[in-house]
């Protein structure tokens, strides 16, 4: 299976979140960057699938030049190819983002089987359910529409059955073996409506929804679908040297215009300290009683 995983560079926020003086961005002077947790799980899922079924994982992001750092982080987890859709750093809306990702998805095989024309370069396009910062919940769905593919979102459990013809590539095994270079070498003719299927589960208000769709498909996953590995040392070394494919897509303005970001005026309080250590337990019991939770 050829898998594309889309990730987004977002600030790593800890105990505090602040906004720049112009109100346009999160203040990142004191923070590093990462990808959204759901997306890290998407990459992990993709790496596990290719270890089992063969094929390779491509990671893609749309963002500033520095977003290459996040691509290298994902390469270290076992992705074998990285694509940066480079912007000037301004925030892109979901419509323009999806159009750029769909265009990149259509371009797939630059190596291996060379069948890069038309749709369906990938058997599976994975996303995180929503980005940590904007939380738009739209890019996967819009990409699916651009490519005319079925779309599942919020998935917590995923099974992929590759088509019989190209499901014979053995998994490479080992914790870091997912990224044999030029992974497409042996799977000629694997692109396009591959005959594989995805079955997936989502939880919704106490109900379990199950889905079954043909590949290729667009699927967004949630944290909890797996427990992502830590990057291995060889993985990190390989990621550092890896070539990153770069494109500069055209952005465009969208109908939703941000005026400013602000920190909500929550009742910023300082907790009333009931005491220190076990001596505080009687006061704690009295409080629980007063709050009416000791029935």
């Amino acid at each position: 299976v050829e898998i594309l995983v889309c990730v987004k560079r977002v600030p790593m926020v800890g105990g505090r979140i602040a906004v720049t003086p112009d109100g346009q961005d999160v203040d990142t002077r004191m923070s590093g960057f990462t990808v959204s947790p759901h997306e890290e799980c998407a990459v992990e899922e993709a790496v596990r699938l290719t270890q089992r079924l063969g094929g390779s994982v491509t990671v893609l992001t749309l963002g500033p030049e520095q977003a290459a750092d996040q691509l290298r982080d994902m390469l270290a987890l076992g992705a074998s190819r990285a694509v940066l859709l480079e912007t000037d750093g301004a925030e892109w809306g979901p419509i323009a983002t999806a159009a750029a990702i769909a265009a990149a998805a259509r371009r797939r095989p630059a190596d291996g089987d060379g069948g890069g024309d038309g749709d369906g370069g990938y058997d599976l396009i994975l996303f995180g359910n929503e980005a940590a910062d904007t939380g738009d919940y739209q890019v996967p769905v819009r990409v699916a529409h651009e490519l005319g593919l079925p779309c599942l979102t919020g998935i917590k459990q995923l099974e992929i059955a590759a088509a019989p013809a190209d499901g014979v590539v053995a998994g490479s095994g080992g914790a870091d073996g997912g990224g044999a270079d030029g992974g497409g070498a042996g799977d000629g003719g694997a692109d396009g409506g591959s005959g594989g299927r995805a079955t997936a589960l989502r939880e919704y208000r106490g109900v379990q929804e199950s889905y079954d769709v043909p590949l290729p498909a667009v699927i967004s996953v949630r944290e909890g679908i797996n427990l992502p590995r830590y990057p291995s040392l060889p993985g990190r070394l390989r990621a550092r040297r890896a070539e990153i494919e770069r494109h500069r897509p055209e952005g465009r303005a969208e109908g939703l215009r941000k005026r400013q970001l602000r920190v909500p005026a929550t009742v910023q309080q300082q907790a009333q300290i009931l005491g220190t250590g076990v001596e505080a337990v009687p006061a704690l019991v009295a409080l629980l009683d007063e709050l009416g939770v000791l029935s």
Binding site: V26, V141, E223, R259
Partner: protein
Amino acid sequence: MTVLCLVEPDGAGVADASLRALTLARGLAAGGGEELAAVAFCPAAALSAELLAVLGSYGAGDAYAVAAQRLAGYAPLAWARALAELAASCGATAVLAAGTDRGQEVMAHLGAITALPVAANCTQVSRAGPGTVELVRYRWAGSLLEDAELESAPALLTVAADAVAAVPVAAVPAAADAGQAPAGPAGGEIPAAKAATVRPFAPELSGADLQVSATESAQRSTGVSLATARVVVGGGRGVGGPEGFGPLEELAGLLGGAVGVSRVVTSQGWRPHQQQVGQTGTRISPELYLACGISGAIQHMAGCLSSKHIVAINTDPDAPIIARAGYAVIGDLSQIIPALITALRER
């Protein structure tokens, strides 16, 4: 001119998140002098008198019952296709849905079908002019707010359910109906709003629209549900390891509550992800959240800010959680929790 709001029946009533979305939608409709209509995906016969009364009490004049031949359960693209058709046929100026998994998904499809933007997780909306809505919406799951302007006809919006209270028309502070007296002690009843009128709607769907359809099955429930628990006992890095959760489970059991954990606990593999409270886990709204050994990262607080009372137990008096909690005990939870359990058992 109509504002449409997707609603989901829940048993005999309407899902709470839908009522909150209806409340926000009603304000938008009122500001533009428009009608509010609810849209449910079910046969007209499934909209009981009771359900129509609820929808009416939230200000919906019409209730569209969308049903089609092969449309049996949840099918996101088909729902969006139907909404697009309905919105066009009734000249909708806005379409809203609760910011649930289904609401977000259907609205994203609707945005893609119509090539229009969608403003996700709105907490306030108002009509600024024809084709323009001013809004406030969540960023970072509510840790930040965005003031924005949406230029789109129709305006497509989802509602941050935990930020909007569900308020029926009758409970809106006077002014609306100056003539009608509010609930008198004699009658004891709030003047009944008019029940919504059922409007069957049969969209034209293709086979491709139904390609993605959910098969639903009830989930086996295990104990008290974290999302709806009255008491949540939270554990974070300060618990120290997987073996430290026994006392928290015991305490939660004593209080009839559930155990919730921070992200570090699940990414260390100490506890399963179903127990995570936070932006990428469960959002809780208990009477009491007892946060033990939890520093209070943004990611975690986004999931527990609707707690009525937060009590923190932490060794660090400067931890961010102390600035978000109502009460705190400073100290080592591995001593305090067993002592608390003993004290509760002795009562």
